[in-house]
C-alpha cells in the first residue's frame, strides 16, 4: 500500500512552525515559469519531506496558483505526501520480478518486526513501510530501498536484520 498521503485526522498532527526561507528561494527560481507547479511542490517535498498546509497557502499568495489546482496535482502523483512520514522510509519493491521472487514475504516480515501495517509509520517516528512499483534493480530481486541504499536478494530474516542494524545505529 502506498503511504497514507492525505491527512485523515488533521487536528492530530501539529503543524509545527514551518521555516519558509528555503521555499521562498524556490519560489523566486520558478516565478513566472510555465508549468512550475510540479517543480515547486517537488522542492517543497525536498525541504520538508511532505507538503505542510502552509506551503499551499504561501504558493497561492506568492504566485496566484489556486489551491484546488495544487491539491489536484499533489494527490495525483505518488511522490507527493500531505502527511509527515518516518525518518527512514523502507521502500519494498513490488515490481513484477520482485513479486515473482516473493516480495510479499519481505513486507510481511517488516510488518511483524515493526508492528505496523504497510503504509504506516512506527510510533517512534523512525520507520515507514511503503510498497513501491519497480525500483529497476530486477536482477537483484527481491529488493528494498532505504534512503539511497538498495538491498537485494533478500528474504524475511535478512530484511529484519537490516532494520535491526539501523535501529542500533539510531540508539548510538
Amino acid at each position: 500500500m502506498r503511504i497514507q498521503r492525505i491527512l485523515q485526522e488533521k487536528e492530530l498532527i501539529e503543524q509545527k512552525s514551518v521555516d519558509l526561507t528555503d521555499l521562498k528561494k524556490s519560489i523566486e527560481k520558478y516565478r513566472g515559469k510555465k508549468g512550475n507547479i510540479i517543480p515547486l511542490l517537488q522542492s517543497a517535498m525536498a525541504i520538508y519531506g511532505y507538503l505542510p498546509e502552509i506551503v499551499f497557502d504561501t504558493l497561492e499568495k506568492e504566485l496566484g496558483i489556486s489551491k484546488s489546482q495544487m491539491y489536484g496535482v499533489a494527490t495525483f502523483y505518488s511522490q507527493f505526501r500531505l502527511a509527515p512520514v518516518g525518518k527512514h522510509i523502507v521502500k519494498v519493491c513490488h515490481g513484477t520480478a520482485c513479486h515473482v521472487q516473493n516480495a510479499t514475504a519481505l513486507t510481511e516480515a517488516l510488518e511483524e518486526a515493526l508492528e505496523i501495517k504497510d503504509g504506516e509509520t512506527t510510533k517512534d517516528g523512525l520507520f515507514t513501510i511503503e510498497s513501491v512499483a519497480c525500483l529497476g534493480c530486477c536482477s537483484l530481486a527481491p529488493v528494498i530501498m532505504i534512503g539511497d541504499e538498495v538491498y537485494g536478494k533478500l528474504d524475511g530474516n535478512a530484511t529484519v536484520k537490516i532494520i535491526n542494524e539501523i535501529k542500533l545505529k539510531e540508539k548510538e
Binding site: I38, V73, Y77, S78, T96, A97, V100, A133, C134, L140
Partner: protein, 592 residues
C-alpha cells in the same frame, strides 16, 4: 608497455550489489600501495547476474570479472594487476579462454547498447571517441536535408521501442509537416513498467547517444525545444543526463546553430516526473510537463499537430532515440539487415524472474523466446520447469512454455495475445501461480488508472475484486466469464493505452491457463501452491522433531503436541498464515 586499466561497472544495479564499495576499495589500495594502474568507471554491461563487475585491460587482453566483493577486489589487484596472473575462477568474459558464459554474449547484437558498460558515461570525449556525434557531424558536413534524414530513418524500418511499435520515420514526417515557430522534441523516459529497466540502463550508461538521437530528431522535424521526461525514481540517470547536456552545450552540439548548421537552434532540458505510470502515455506526459494532473486526452488532434503547449510535438522513447545515431552513421540498409521483414533491427530486453542469467540483453528481432530463455538466459534455476514468460509488463500478457518457439517481433508476439511492449521479460517457473500473476498486474493498473474513463476506473476495480476472491478460495462459477466480459468492455471503452491493454494479463492467463483458474474456483486448490488461503498445512510425523518452534510461533494456537513428540495442526483453527512453514527447520510441514 601500456598502463593496466581497471574499470568498475557503476550502474544502479551494480551499485546496489556493492560496486561503489569495490571502487572505493580499489582506490584506497591503489593509493595506499602506490600502485601504477588506471582506475576508471563505466556503467552496466547488462550482465546483472554477475554484479558487481570489474574489467581489467592489460597487454594480454580484456578480462571481465564477475561477483567481485571488496576482498576479492584486493586479491584481484595483487594477482592480476601486480603479478599478471588472471584469476580464472572469477573471469566471466575473456578472449583467451572459455568461461562458460559465452552464450550470454554471442547471441547479442549491440546497437542501442553499443557503448553501455564500455565508456565512462560522464565524459563526452569517450563518447566522441566511439563515433559519438559523428552522425550529427555527417548530417552537417554532407548537408543531408531534413527530408533526407526522415527518409533514412523510415527506410531503416525502425519502430517505436516504447511499446507502440509505430514507424519512427512516419511519426517524424507528421511532425515535420506542421509549420510552427515553436516545435518540441520529447524523450519519453518515464519507464514505469514493473520489471523493465532498459531505459534506465541506457540513460545511465550512454546518455549522449539518447541526446544525439534527440538532436537529429529535432533537426529532422524542425524542433527548437527538447524535453526529456524522466522518472524521479532514477536519480542517477537524471544526474548523468544533466552532466551530459552541459557537456553537449559546451561543445556546440546544443545552443545556436547546432554543429554549424545555420538556423538550427536547440536546447534540451530534463523534466522530472512525479510518479504516475499513466504519464508514459504521450498526451498524459505532456499534460504532466505542463504541470497538470497527468491525464490523457482524446486524439485527434495528435501531438504532431497540437502537443506540448499546443505546439507541434514529437514523442519518442529512449531506446528509439539511442538507435538513431547508429542508423544515420551506418545507413538504413545496415540496420535493416537485422531483424525480420516488418520488425527490423534489434531490441533490448530486461530478462528477469526465475532465470539463471538475468540482465539486460539486446538481440536481433526474430530470435525465438526459447533461444533467449535457454541459450542466452541459461534456463531456469534449481532444475525447475519453465512455465510461462510475461512480455510487455502490465499491458502485455503471459506466453506459455509450449509457445516458446514463437519468434519475437511485433506481429508474432501480438498474435499470442501479449505485446512486445517496452521489453520487460519476466520468466516464471512451476511455482508461479498464474491467477496470482493476473491479480498482481490488475492491482497495479487499478492503482495507476488516472480515473478519467469509467470503464478503466471501475472496471479494473471490479476485476480485481473477482481475482482476489478467486485467490482467497471464494471463487464462484461464472467468474471467468465475468472477467472476460469486463475485459472486453474495458478494452473497448477506454481512451488511452493503459485501459485498452490493462485486461491483457487476465485474458492471456485465462486463454492459456484456464485449468488453473478452474482449480482455484472449483477444487479450491492452487496448483502452484502460491495462494495461501487455498493451501492445507500439515505436519509430517516422521520429520517432526517436536522442537515446539511452530507451536510457539502459531498466532492462533492451532498447533499442539508434547515436546520431542510429533506435533499436530488443528485445521479448524489454522488461518493458513504460513508462519509454521517458514519457521520449521526440518521441512516437516507439508503443503497441499
Amino acid at each position: 608497455m601500456s598502463r593496466t586499466k581497471v574499470i568498475v561497472g557503476l550502474g544502479s544495479c551494480g551499485i546496489a550489489a556493492g560496486a561503489s564499495k569495490v571502487y572505493d576499495k580499489l582506490l584506497a589500495i591503489k593509493n595506499a600501495e602506490n600502485l601504477d594502474f588506471e582506475l576508471a568507471k563505466t556503467s552496466c554491461v547488462g550482465m546483472c547476474y554477475k554484479e558487481p563487475l570489474v574489467e581489467i585491460v592489460d597487454e594480454n587482453g580484456t578480462f571481465l570479472y564477475g561477483d567481485i566483493t571488496e576482498n576479492i577486489a584486493v586479491e584481484l589487484v595483487h594477482e592480476h594487476v601486480v603479478n599478471h596472473n588472471p584469476m580464472k575462477d572469477y573471469v566471466v568474459k575473456s578472449e583467451l579462454f572459455d568461461t562458460g558464459e559465452e552464450d550470454f554474449f554471442d547471441s547479442q547484437v549491440k546497437i542501442a547498447l553499443r557503448n553501455c558498460g564500455h565508456i565512462e558515461p560522464e565524459d563526452i570525449n569517450e563518447y566522441i571517441k566511439n563515433n559519438g556525434y559523428a552522425a550529427l557531424k555527417k548530417i552537417a558536413n554532407e548537408r543531408i536535408d531534413r527530408e533526407g534524414v526522415i527518409q533514412i530513418v523510415k527506410d531503416s524500418g525502425l519502430r517505436g521501442r516504447g511499446g507502440g511499435g509505430f514507424s519512427t520515420g512516419m511519426k517524424w514526417r507528421f511532425a515535420y509537416n506542421y509549420e510552427s515557430d515553436d516545435k518540441y522534441i520529447i524523450c519519453n523516459a518515464d519507464e514505469g513498467d514493473p520489471g523493465a529497466f532498459m531505459d534506465r540502463s541506457l540513460l545511465e550508461g550512454d546518455p549522449h547517444s539518447v541526446i544525439e538521437g534527440m538532436i537529429i530528431g529535432a533537426y529532422a522535424i524542425g524542433a527548437n525545444h527538447g524535453v526529456i521526461y524522466c522518472r524521479a525514481e532514477y536519480p542517477l540517470a537524471i544526474k548523468r543526463l544533466n552532466i551530459a547536456l552541459e557537456q553537449a552545450r559546451k561543445k556546440g552540439f546544443l545552443g545556436q546553430n547546432v554543429c554549424g548548421i545555420d538556423g538550427f537552434d536547440l536546447d534540451i532540458y530534463v523534466k522530472e516526473g512525479a510518479g504516475a505510470f499513466v504519464c508514459g502515455e504521450e498526451t498524459a506526459l505532456m499534460a504532466s510537463i505542463e504541470g497538470h494532473r497527468g491525464m490523457p486526452r482524446k486524439r485527434p488532434p495528435f501531438p504532431a499537430e497540437s502537443g506540448l503547449w499546443r505546439k507541434p510535438s514529437n514523442v519518442n522513447n529512449v531506446e528509439t532515440f539511442a538507435n538513431i545515431p547508429w542508423i544515420l552513421f551506418h545507413g538504413a540498409e545496415e540496420y535493416s539487415k537485422y531483424g525480420t521483414k516488418n520488425s527490423s533491427g534489434t531490441k533490448v530486453f530486461a530478462l528477469t524472474g526465475k532465470i539463471n542469467r538475468g540482465g539486460l540483453v539486446e538481440v536481433p528481432l526474430g530470435i525465438t523466446i526459447n533461444d533467449i530463455i535457454f541459450k542466452l538466459g541459461g534456463g531456469i534455476p534449481g532444475g525447475k520447469k519453465f512455465k510461462a514468460v510475461q512480455l510487455g509488463g502490465p499491458s502485455g500478457g503471459c506466453v506459455p512454455a509450449y509457445l516458446g518457439d514463437t519468434i519475437i517481433d511485433y506481429d508474432s508476439v501480438r498474435s499470442t495475445g501479449a505485446i512486445m511492449g517496452s521489453g520487460g521479460m519476466v520468466v516464471m517457473d512451476e511455482t508461479t501461480c498464474m491467477v496470482d500473476m493476473a491479480k498482481f498486474f490488475l492491482d497495479f493498473t487499478k492503482k495507476e488508472s488516472c480515473g478519467k474513463c469509467t470503464f478503466c476506473r471501475i472496471g479494473t476495480q471490479r476485476m480485481l475484486e473477482i481475482l482476489v476472491r478467486i485467490c482467497d478460495g471464494e471463487g464462484q462459477e461464472g467468474d471467468i466469464e465475468k472477467l472476460e466480459e469486463l475485459s472486453h468492455k474495458i478494452i473497448e471503452n477506454s481512451l488511452c493505452g493503459l485501459g485498452q491493454t490493462a485486461p491483457n494479463p487476465v485474458l492471456t492467463t485465462i486463454k492459456y491457463f484456464r485449468d488453473e483458474y478452474e482449480a482455484h474456483i472449483r477444487d479450491k486448490k492452487c496448483p502452484a501452491k502460491k495462494c495461501k488461503p487455498l493451501l492445507t498445512y500439515e505436519i509430517i510425523e516422521e520429520k517432526c522433531t517436536g522442537c515446539t518452534v511452530c507451536a510457539k510461533k502459531c498466532p492462533t494456537d492451532a498447533i499442539s503436541g508434547e515436546r520431542k513428540m510429533a506435533h499436530f495442526i488443528d485445521q479448524d483453527k489454522c488461518i493458513k498464515c504460513g508462519v509454521c512453514y517458514s519457521k520449521c527447520k526440518f521441512e516437516a510441514i507439508s503443503l497441499t
